[in-house]
Structure formats: structure tokens, C-alpha cells
């Protein structure tokens, strides 16, 4: 999985800046995507490209349970969020609907990857290659549980015999 990084060098990016409350009435995902990150970065929609990654600090996605947050990012083209840590509801929402991959990284990757860098991420080997600097980093492996839901392609495809 290859893509370029949009880096937000801060902690606690919350769901209200990812998709402000006024847009929770919007049901059209393409329209929702035009407001992604609007609370923090009004230029996001014009700069994001299909396949991009977001890189940020601790506690990404804190706050509301709105699934609109990973949906808005995913429909903007974002394939994965790389962060030092995640708030749990955002993390599960990202995986449950197979919207995007929430990837936990270490301080080395956080410090070593800059805005605009091109990465190649392989979740089967947990390797993040920075193609711009030729450095490699390890992502924190998904827990077995989360890995199984990702592998299945979301909550409703996991254990279909029980669903």
C-alpha cells in the first residue's frame, strides 16, 4: 500500500475537527468527504489525494462515537491513519466498517516521517518504508482480534455463520 503523508504534528485530533457536528446530518458520503478535517485544516479537501495517509500524534479520534469521522476521511481517499495512539471508538469504527486502517506507530516513525513523504506500508510484515528517505520502521501489529476483523473485511463479514 503506497501513498503520501499529510502530517498533523499534534496530539488529540478529535472527532469534532475531523467532521464538525453540523455535518452529521449529511448522509451523502461524497458530500461528507468535502468537509473532512474542516475544523482543523480548511485546505484538507483540496490537497488530499486518493491513497494518502494521515500521520499524527497521540489519542487520534478522541471524542464522539460518530462513524462519520472515519467515513469522511475514507471517502476523501485516506487509506490509513498513522498515529502514536488512538481513541478506542474511532479505532473500532475505522475497522468495523472497513473504512480505513488505524496504524499505531512508534516515536521513531513519528519523528522520522515528514509531511509529503511517500510511504510503502505492508501490514503482513508490519513494515513501513519511507520511500522518500529510505528509512524503515515497524508498525505496532494489530491485535489478533482486530487483525481478524480487518482480514474479514469488517464487522459484518466477521464470523458470518454467527451473523
Amino acid at each position: 500500500m503506497k501513498g503520501n503523508v499529510i502530517k498533523y504534528d499534534r496530539d488529540n485530533i478529535d472527532t469534532d475537527v475531523i467532521i464538525p457536528g453540523q455535518y452529521l446530518k449529511v448522509h451523502d458520503y461524497a458530500e461528507l468527504a468535502t468537509h473532512a478535517m474542516e475544523g482543523l485544516d480548511p485546505d484538507f479537501h483540496s490537497k488530499v489525494k486518493e491513497g494518502d495517509f494521515i500521520l499524527s500524534g497521540k489519542n487520534f479520534g478522541s471524542g464522539s462515537s460518530r462513524e462519520h469521522a472515519p467515513i469522511a476521511l475514507s471517502h476523501s481517499g485516506v487509506k490509513a491513519i498513522l498515529a502514536l495512539s488512538f481513541a478506542r471508538i474511532f479505532y473500532r469504527n475505522s475497522v468495523d466498517g472497513a473504512f480505513l486502517l488505524p496504524i499505531e506507530i512508534g516515536q521513531d516513525a513519528y519523528d522520522g516521517i515528514s509531511d509529503g513523504d511517500e510511504l510503502d506500508i505492508d501490514i503482513s510484515t508490519n513494515e513501513i518504508k519511507n520511500l522518500t528517505t529510505n528509512q524503515s520502521y515497524k508498525m505496532k501489529p494489530f491485535s489478533e482480534i482486530i487483525g481478524k476483523i480487518i482480514e474479514a473485511g469488517g464487522l459484518f463479514k466477521y464470523k458470518p455463520e454467527l451473523n
Binding site: K25, R66, R88, D96
Partner: protein, 471 residues
């Protein structure tokens, strides 16, 4: 070895659990509102599924309902559609709905307990992060996303990773419990553990500082567990809990035998251990006011705003966060909290819009007027709270002081209905989140207790409410 309260509730709800796999957990109550449910119902229709237990599913509309005159049509068309959609979904799937004209309408986390729907030892979910509120009754209450809402509608179960356990022990007694409130206790806890301090855990609040609290105050504590990053907050039920839920509209008929069972089973064993512990001594804590853009950025009312260096303790991102927060909030380090002037006051939300909150706030304002240039509003948490307050004459006290007295809903807590801040406006708010833009684009939020919000409305700035006569 003994078990914690959380472990007991978890184990009694396991449908399937295998090592290194998620556990399938049975859900006793599912609360539904208009914002996080439409796609879930669409999903059911697409897959030709029914709601498995409509009798355990309860819906209301709270997030985007107008709080002004309800005899008028809803002007915001997208809100009107979302509200109509919930009506249709409830009708199609046979779900009990407290609609906009119901005397039981209100914020979902206010109506659950007051109707006796929230019960000790049960599992409760809702597509809303503040579902943690119901933990005040000893229920395992989790906020979930829309995919999970659909999964619960279809199966009455959820695949969950087992959370870790976090003991927050609150010791001591507050010197002035009218001025130093449950809100100040939970803000003090979050200030100390941080906004991610509880990530992946269920917090159990224990100790004299918790058992001393009323049920409504305990709800304020558990409500903000999510602001400390936790999956849920829990308080072991006791006589106050059992008395609160007796004789409510939906209290089960075999209530007394349930109480006997709860007394026996719903407590953490003396020899149980927690994955981690934090202790807060509340003998000396002060009223709290948030100054930044997350609930951890909070200080005592008699302090001044910290510098980013003081706040961050050497953490580069924390420092940057504090700098950005001060810029957004248009505040300088070193400014005394009591010198911060406000434009708006919002007394409302699932955190602090219950009857006791309104009683306490009314004591501060009785016989006084809201400061010139301040616009203040009270949005009761439910129509039942509103009615009870009106029976006590609280509405007159607020209206005489020039507060607006509104209909029930989430309102200015999250800026989905017309109750929003204008860019640059500064609000003393009894809600739970001070995120950038939360109460309206460019709006500036200070999280406080109802007593502090009322005092700020009268004075036009924050004041040390310990100096007021509140008894």
C-alpha cells in the same frame, strides 16, 4: 482470586468467548437516537434483516431537535429529515420511540435512568460516546459506532475486546459541596490522568468521595469517563441506586427480588485487583474551569492560565497543543481565570442538565440579573426534568434573571441545532467537550459546573463560587 464489578458483569453476558478472539457479548438495552442510526437501519433493510429484540430497543430524538417553540415546524430541512427518518424507522421495525412531542422526550442519557430503563448489572449500548453516563447505576454502558448499532439491532450482541480495569479512588470530603461539585471532581480526575489516561479500560469509581454523591451527581462523573479516554465508567450500586430506580415508569415488576440479587452480586470483591489505580483526594480541591481545547486543559478557579511549558512538563506535542489552544481561545498564560469575561452561558447537556443541576444553579441567580452583554440559556436534559423544574418554580427564577428557558435536547453541547456560538464568542458551558468548533465554528468553550456557569452569567466572568452563600 476475587473479581471486579466489571469482570462480573462481563462474564455474566458472554455468549461466546475464545482465547485471542473477540468475545460476543449480550446487550440488555439498546438506546437509539436520530444521528447515528439511519445508516444502521438502511443496512438492515439492504440485508433483509429485522430488529432482533425491539422490546429491548428504545429511541428518542435529542441531538438536532430545536429547543425553541415546538409547535412550529422545524426550519432546518436536513434536521427535519433526520427526525422524520427516525420516526419511520421506529415504525417500520416496531421500536418504542419518545418523539419530539412526548413528555418523555429528552437527551437519551437523561431519560434512560429517569424512566427506569437503565438497570444495575445490565449491558447498555448507544451510538453515542456519553453512554458511559449509565455506569452510575452499575451498568456496563458503552458508546458505539453506527456499524455496531446495526450489529446490535440485528443480533442483540456485540463483538468486543475485553477492556482492562482502572480503579479511580476518590477519597476525602469536600468542604463546600455546593461550590465544589461532581463536575469539579471529574474535571480534576481528567486533568490528572489526561484525555487518554483511561484508553482501553473500564474505570470503576470508588471511595467515600463517590458514595457520598447523589445518583445525579454520579451520572456527571460517569458521563465524562470518555473524556478521560475510557470505554466506560462504573459505580457499584448501593441503596441510593436502588431507591432512585424504584417505581419509575419502566422499572421491572419483580424489582425487589432484583435488588436482592444486585446487593449480593454487584460489587468488586475485597481481594480483586485492578490493572491500574489513580487516587484523588478531594479534601482540598477547588472549582474547575477549562481554559484550553480538550477537557484535560483545566485549572482551579483561583489559579492563572499555565504557560505551555508549565502545562506540558517537557512533552513537545503537549506544549504545541497548549500553544495552539491558547491561540484558538484568545487567552494568554498568566491571565487569572477570574478575569476571563464571557459572552454566553449554556446550562445543559447529558453531563449537567438534571433537576439537581438546575436547583443548584438557581440558588446562585435567585433575585439577580444576568450581566449586560451576556446571553444565558437553560436547556433541561429532558421534558420530564423541565416539568419537574417548572413545578418547583425554577423556570421563573431563571426567566426573572433573564435566562432563556428552553425545551429539552442536546442543544449547544455539540452545535447540531440552531443553538450555536458565533465565531469568537466565549461560553461558560456545563457540557463535556471544549474541542475547537464544538459549540459552533470559532466558538470558545469553558467547561464548568452549573453553579459556576450561573455565577459567570450574573458576574460576566468566572468567580470563586466558594465565596458565595449557597446553602
Amino acid at each position: 482470586m476475587g473479581k471486579t464489578l466489571f469482570e462480573k458483569i462481563w462474564e455474566s453476558h458472554i455468549v461466546v468467548e475464545k482465547q485471542n478472539e473477540p468475545a460476543l457479548i449480550y446487550i440488555d438495552r439498546h438506546l437509539v437516537h436520530e444521528v447515528t442510526s439511519p445508516q444502521a437501519f438502511d443496512g438492515l433493510r439492504m440485508n433483509d434483516r429485522k430488529v432482533r429484540r425491539p422490546d429491548l430497543t428504545i429511541a428518542t430524538m435529542d441531538h438536532n431537535v430545536p429547543t425553541s417553540d415546538r409547535s412550529l415546524p422545524i426550519l432546518d430541512q436536513t434536521s427535519a429529515i433526520q427526525i422524520k427518518t427516525l420516526e419511520k424507522n421506529c415504525e417500520d421495525f416496531g421500536i418504542k420511540l419518545f418523539d419530539i412531542n412526548s413528555p418523555n422526550q429528552g437527551i437519551v442519557h437523561v431519560i434512560g435512568p429517569q424512566l427506569g430503563i437503565t438497570l444495575p448489572g445490565s449491558t447498555i449500548v448507544c451510538g453515542d460516546s456519553h453512554t458511559s453516563t449509565h455506569g452510575a447505576f452499575g451498568a456496563l454502558a458503552l458508546g458505539i459506532g453506527t456499524s455496531e448499532v446495526e450489529h446490535v439491532l440485528a443480533s442483540q450482541t456485540l463483538w468486543l475486546e475485553k477492556p482492562k480495569t482502572f480503579e479511580v479512588r476518590v477519597e476525602g470530603k469536600r468542604k463546600n459541596p455546593h461550590a465544589v461539585t461532581a463536575k469539579d471532581i471529574i474535571l480534576s480526575i481528567i486533568k490528572n490522568i489526561g484525555t487518554a489516561g483511561g484508553t482501553g479500560t473500564v474505570i470503576e469509581y470508588r471511595g467515600e468521595g463517590i458514595t457520598d454523591l447523589s445518583m445525579e451527581q454520579r451520572m456527571t462523573i460517569c458521563n465524562m469517563s470518555i473524556e478521560g479516554g475510557a470505554r466506560a465508567g462504573l459505580i457499584a450500586p448501593d441503596q441510593k441506586t436502588f431507591d432512585y430506580l424504584r417505581n419509575r415508569e419502566y422499572t421491572p415488576k419483580n424489582y425487589e427480588s432484583l435488588v436482592d440479587y444486585w446487593k449480593e452480586n454487584l460489587k468488586t470483591d475485597p481481594d480483586a485487583t485492578f490493572d491500574k489505580t489513580f487516587v484523588l483526594d478531594i479534601n482540598e480541591i477547588a472549582p474547575q474551569v477549562s481554559w484550553g481545547t480538550n477537557p484535560g486543559m483545566t485549572c482551579d478557579v483561583d489559579e492563572s492560565i499555565p504557560s505551555p511549558d508549565e502545562f506540558s512538563n517537557g512533552d513537545a506535542n503537549q506544549k504545541k497543543g497548549a500553544e495552539k489552544a491558547l491561540e484558538y481561545m484568545a487567552l494568554d498564560s498568566g491571565t487569572l481565570i477570574e478575569d476571563i469575561k464571557i459572552d454566553r452561558v449554556f446550562i445543559g447537556s447529558c453531563t449537567n442538565a438534571r433537576l439537581e443541576d438546575l436547583i443548584e444553579a438557581s440558588k446562585v441567580i435567585q433575585g439577580q440579573k444576568v450581566a449586560p452583554n451576556v446571553n444565558a440559556m437553560v436547556v433541561p436534559g429532558s421534558q420530564m426534568v423541565k416539568k419537574q423544574a417548572e413545578e418547583m418554580g425554577l423556570d421563573k427564577i431563571f426567566i426573572d434573571a433573564n435566562f432563556e428557558w428552553r425545551e429539552a435536547g442536546c442543544s449547544m453541547c455539540l452545535g447540531m441545532n440552531p443553538d450555536i456560538l458565533s465565531p469568537g464568542e466565549r461560553c461558560a458551558s456545563t457540557s463535556n467537550r471544549n474541542f475547537e468548533g464544538r459549540q459552533g465554528n470559532g466558538g470558545r468553550t469553558h467547561l464548568v459546573s452549573p453553579v459556576m456557569a450561573a455565577a459567570a452569567a450574573i458576574n460576566g466572568h468566572f468567580v470563586d463560587v466558594r465565596k458565595l452563600n449557597l446553602n
